[in-house]
Symmetry: D2
Subunit: 468 residues, 4 copies
């Protein structure tokens, strides 16, 4: 047979390639820091498969015998490939971040993902953060899990104070953890439309019931006219009464204002953990969230409380996405959101002035705005929402005052608007990361067109009625 006679130049080229690759892998494995420039897809896939090859289900150097009840066997080759050969999940019963002897590669991946996340969070200016943990469930479950993990510290606590935000999953999280909520309504900012924290009300409640209260659950990312809670002031009161402070930062990582508030409060010891969605902040599919703390031991305690193994998918998705973007690509996406949000505000203000409506003044909310719909009759307001959906616009939401909703025994007035205070009817629109300039343009244009048609129709009707 003809031999493979490798010429010298090929040998050296391969050597060079291998050295490069190995250097990168070594860097990732040891320092866990994100490359500045994103990597080509083939190199990312190579890296993930290299990790997968460290797991026992992919071993090929000796005969593999699985004599346990969970051996990473996968029946469908489609499924195997959708997991890139990674079958064992992450963690052990004792600790979510423990290394699995059967699954060294999976364990490393989980660790690298946490490390890259820490790195990028530092790049985002949150220099006080000391620990991050990717959990394979979404924000609501993670909030619940944090609360549960703190129970041992205050076994007699019965309540979690809920700074009202009309996100159902956030409210339900309190019940999942086994607590009753004490709801504190938002108050309106004196000079503007923003709904924000009732610090006085909170202080009164804590003063009175602090020995029965486990934690305060505040929220930063939200739909206008609510703004981020005054995390520092909230945390300061919590610290005074030795009550935990948990921040629901669902999609707030992309907001400079949310990051600033949390990091400042955290640096002073006033935040025990904050939770954010992976899909909303990192452009991955729904399914994971990120818990971060300002204290290394705090994050370990949460990880150790986890009962058993967990899906590796969110960690994998996040790692791949960060390697794909690189630090530069990631920062560009965030920067782009800032620019487009400013554009959206400007264009919406222009639109509002032409249709005699008003954009609510919510300068601390950097992702969402609200435009009033007072010029439309009540039933046309909700109709506008449906029409927009039909026109291919998802995520725009009409909020009308006066809705009562009872959730798990608690009643909310003006549900959807975060406050029982009076509000005009309004339309919420947001500019989140990944939105394009073209989308902003079409969005404004479509609202203009549909609003105008509805108003014109309403006028014709009223004329007809008037003439009857």
């Amino acid at each position: 047979m003809k031999a493979i006679s490798e010429s010298f130049s090929e040998e050296s080229a391969i050597e060079r390639c291998s050295r490069c690759a190995d250097r990168m892998l070594a860097i990732l494995r040891t320092s866990g820091r994100l490359p500045e420039i994103g990597l080509p897809d083939a190199t990312i896939r190579r890296f993930v498969y290299e990790l997968a090859c460290c797991d026992s289900n992919n071993r090929y150097d000796k005969v593999a015998v699985g004599a346990g009840e969970r051996e990473g066997r996968i029946a469908s080759s489609i499924v195997a490939e959708l997991h890139m050969g990674l079958a064992h999940g992450m963690g052990r019963s004792g600790n979510l971040t423990d290394q699995q002897p059967k699954a060294i590669g999976s364990s490393m991946l989980a660790r690298i993902a946490n490390s890259l996340t820490s790195d990028i969070i530092e790049s985002l200016g949150m220099g006080n953060v000391r620990g991050t943990l990717i959990l394979p469930f979404a924000t609501g479950m993670s909030l619940a899990f944090c609360l549960s993990s703190w129970r041992r510290n205050k076994p007699n606590a019965k309540y979690v104070v809920f700074l009202r935000i009309d996100q159902l999953s956030c409210f339900k999280a309190i019940f999942v953890a086994g607590y009753e909520p004490i709801i504190i309504d938002c108050v309106r900012d004196e000079d503007r439309d923003t709904l924000t924290t009732d610090i006085d009300g909170l202080t009164r409640v804590l003063k009175e019931k602090h020995d029965k209260i486990l934690a305060v659950l505040s929220t930063t990312s939200c739909f206008a006219p609510r703004g981020p809670d005054d995390v520092e002031a909230v945390g300061e009161v919590c610290s005074r009464y030795r009550i935990k402070h948990l921040v629901n930062n669902a999609y707030g990582l992309q907001s400079r204002e949310c990051r600033r508030r949390i990091d400042m409060a955290g640096g002073k010891g006033h935040v025990d953990a904050f939770v954010q969605s992976l899909d909303k902040n990192f452009l991955v599919p729904v399914g994971g969230s990120l818990i971060a703390t300002f204290d290394e031991e705090a994050i370990d305690a949460i990880a150790q409380f986890y009962p058993g193994r967990a899906s590796l998918v969110p960690s994998r998705d996040l790692m791949i996405t960060l390697l794909h973007l690189g630090r530069n690509g990631f920062m560009n996406i965030y920067q782009r959101q800032t620019e487009l949000f400013e554009l959206l505000v400007k264009k919406t203000n222009e639109l509002a002035s032409t249709i005699s409506e008003r954009v609510l003044q919510t300068p601390t909310n950097l992702t969402s705005i609200a435009i009033t719909l007072t010029g439309l009759p009540a039933d046309e307001q909700t109709l506008l929402g449906s029409i927009l959906f039909d026109r291919g616009i998802t995520g725009a939401r009409v909020v009308c005052p006066g809705i009562k909703k009872c959730i798990l025994g608690h009643e909310f007035f003006n549900y959807g608007s975060h406050s029982s205070k009076d509000q005009p009817p309004y339309l919420n629109i947001a500019c989140a990361i990944g939105m394009s300039r073209e989308e902003v343009d079409i969005l404004i244009e479509t609202i203009r067109k549909e609003y105008s048609e509805l108003r014109a129709k309403a006028r014709r009707r009223s004329i007809v009625r008037g003439s009857e």
Copy 2:
């Protein structure tokens, strides 16, 4: 330009193909029953992509504008492809099984997966089951979640009775849900070695503290010499005191005996929910579990309690795997485990007799057996475990008596052997689904070889010592 002139025969062939495909899809969508014979990979992929195309992030018929905070955008094409275009997860804040307007396809997939699972569970002889729910976290978290969801029914309960099983995640689940455990040790079957339920002890405890007890947590699948709990008797006592009965059936779906016990008890109203791992029973990667109930409303109540959206991945993996195997393929895998387990028992008995050890008599445990290691000095016993791992055998586990372990404030004696009763040292080996005949052969041969060498070494040492 030259036109595509489709000949009549092509037209009719395509029509036929389309009709077949559409018929299958229609059947899946409406009846949700599993085909008898597995489908080719290309047809499965086609089906999943068809579902993905119903989600708003894959629409192409009109301009898509995302004006919300979560629009299913994915930054990395690798990640997009690992999720087959499905980005929205499943559920809404109100209910895990609710349909998402933005994600009709994802919602359908979740529903079809639940339906196929119900179907296969019926095929496995569990005819009394009335509802199944795939949750995107593993058994431990699902057990915790069931307990949490029941809290409202008995707000003053403080305890969950734990029929001892030395699986850490199962025990931790009680704490995650916010309860204290009352531990009831196993008792030994009179005639045999099996460790099983102390029904008298349980009855005493329930009688005394029933008003403070939320639930009893029993276990069916386990390592020998523990056997499945007497689910029916346990459930009967629970029913008497109106206490919930939750069964940890982690990898027990593959055991005829576990299925029989649970279904019989459930049929009589004595089981409120049972939980099993997806990876261990369905050959998918770690990350999901299945909750099943004998009452439709019971499963709905659990689904409604979930706070927010969740990963679709476990549902997707399970759906793909079941379509790939078909009912026949799935049943064959289970049948094969039964045959190979019998072979394993036979071969282990033969091995035991040649090395003067004993296979513990645990006839109700149909996945795991234990062989004594009394012929080895104490430190060689644990050494055997490491050597086997080194020889490429994963999952075999040596258990030595006398180990004390304190977990979350509770002390366990003889940890690892499920009982504080005296036990000889032993080696656990299991035959789970997916194991091959070749693996069984190598397993027995390796144990024989390594055991013999260790014993020979021990003898030489004792001779040397004796001659000193």
Copy 3:
């Protein structure tokens, strides 16, 4: 930020994994020999991506600037992934096996694929083969290409002798290469039904026109009742007249008899090249073929004649398939075909005797058999073919005598049966690699059923006619 503190045990486990992987890759790269046992999918993917990372379009260590006209850029991420990042194809204008400086990894892959193929061909008992070359087009084009590459050796030649085989692409290949065919009909073996080489006729033709003849094109793999040509005798005559001998071994690699004949003749210097299909012999998609020679320089001369670059896909598919199967897996597939073919012959003989038909005696054909259809009226014979196709049986083919066909100016009598000699009508069925026992059973059963129904119908008709 919390560092990734890798424990010693992880470090050593990774080291071990890396060492294993690197050892395997090193072996593949240097020795190019096939592992005995197939590799897990994740390790194969890792290997391919590692090669891809050696190409310039996947470099990430420095800024990559493409200032040429072909830089391996791919617009669609789907396409990129279907090629695993490999964009540059193989070869350079000068030689198909030359190394591309821009694409070291692709070049290596092409070379490894050729090397693994050489290795497996040796394992199949063809110990005299000295060079193999994967070409990214199917058998017909490869036959043409071999002929073209030999033109310079005999610029005045005008003819290629065609030992008749009714495979259209084989005959057309002669014209593509620029030659005229001299057709030599098959003769029937004296004792049996086999159609085989007319050596006397061939000798006469060569004697007379040898100075105008470039080559003889013989065929080994074929549908019964044709058998493989007497390659040795043909080659011996060719050698005598210094005429090239090219063997069309399309799907004959899986036939012990074809391999034996070619290797024996080749060992004596009587075969200049033989060509086989990749899809038919290696279970990959259509698109590639393998040229093999008994002389290293001969294969180099063909590779050097290739005008430009070529697709890497067939090489990649073959390499992946061989690594997936391993030598054992590959040999098992071939062994299985041998067993099932024997079963097919046995069952068809049984069937024939029950329906008063006859299986033609073609003992040198080890993939295809022919069963007569003399008991059916003429128009029911062809109808049987359509009915079988409709019943889901592909590849069965009815051949009726008397068909004339004119191809590129040459007329064939009894087209489809390889000879103008008289033949009964017959049905061809084959057992190729990858066929399952179940398929054999259904095949025989379906033929039995459909044949009987057709005959019953025919009889009823003739009775009706008789009674008229």
Copy 4:
């Protein structure tokens, strides 16, 4: 079991989705025209898998039995997935565009790919083209194949006239087809540096030997200072002598000038076929090319000449890429090349003036330019090429005068510069589709830096020598 109760709204949403999808598929299948806007990946994958499901190897409605020698079986699931379940290639022995009964879906895909290509070529302004055919081999083989397919029309022809272009594969194609080249050197444009067609020389040759000449092979896309041949004038002479005219348009589809020349000549009946690379013009991996004609029957004749089946991969890649880009995306890529090429010319001229070199005046070449290197000593000229490669710049090429090369018996003087005329040494750089603005900037900057360093070094050396 709980049924899947589909609510009305889900039903209607699915209906709507299905209708959209089906409408698109129907349009593609019947009209074969490209959508304006590119499709999301999930919809493209769905479409391809839908086609794959029409092939017999993916059928699931009845038992599939393969009784032939080629049944689309694939051994490795990796390979199956890399081909998206498409195993049968395209074509039949009789014709590359024939429909395969076993592979309706594959046949359709091949046809749709040809149709979309025709459509986009029309959009590019080549309105006279009447037929396109994707061949699964690169430009060189396709040129050879065209020539071969024309042989029957002029059996006594021995020559192909080669309008000199120093692309090896183009020259070799003539030999593969079985012809001898008559080489006609380029002449320099009077007013500028461009090397172009020697029409007088060509006319003389044709006049003299036309009865022995099959075709003239001209070239449009090339490296400066060669420009595109005067296709119209060439074709006009060919028509006069009834000689075929074949145009090598390797990467010229992206050049407005090349397209214009070919289409104008073709419209007048002066071009018999033109061939271009798929990878270079459509950003897909190497492996396919596109033959186009100005006459439907002409393309059919070529397709019918193909001997057997062929890989479907290039057709598939092209179809996916075009659906991904849509007409708009595709035109944008071409428009972008035009803009960046102008920028490259401008920047190179600026660079040239600062280093006292000259950009050769080649205004008809819209992809490549040449900058003189007269300021460098001879051996530093080639060194510059190596240094650039080392700096990560691929595709830049230094051409020095005086190189003789003998290819297949024919000698070329000044090989690499397309003409035996005197040339200064120069550096070729190109701007092809897919190049980015950033690449242009780095390219110019790197040349500036490396050129300057080499010249500085050369000067220091000459000073040292001078002072010795």
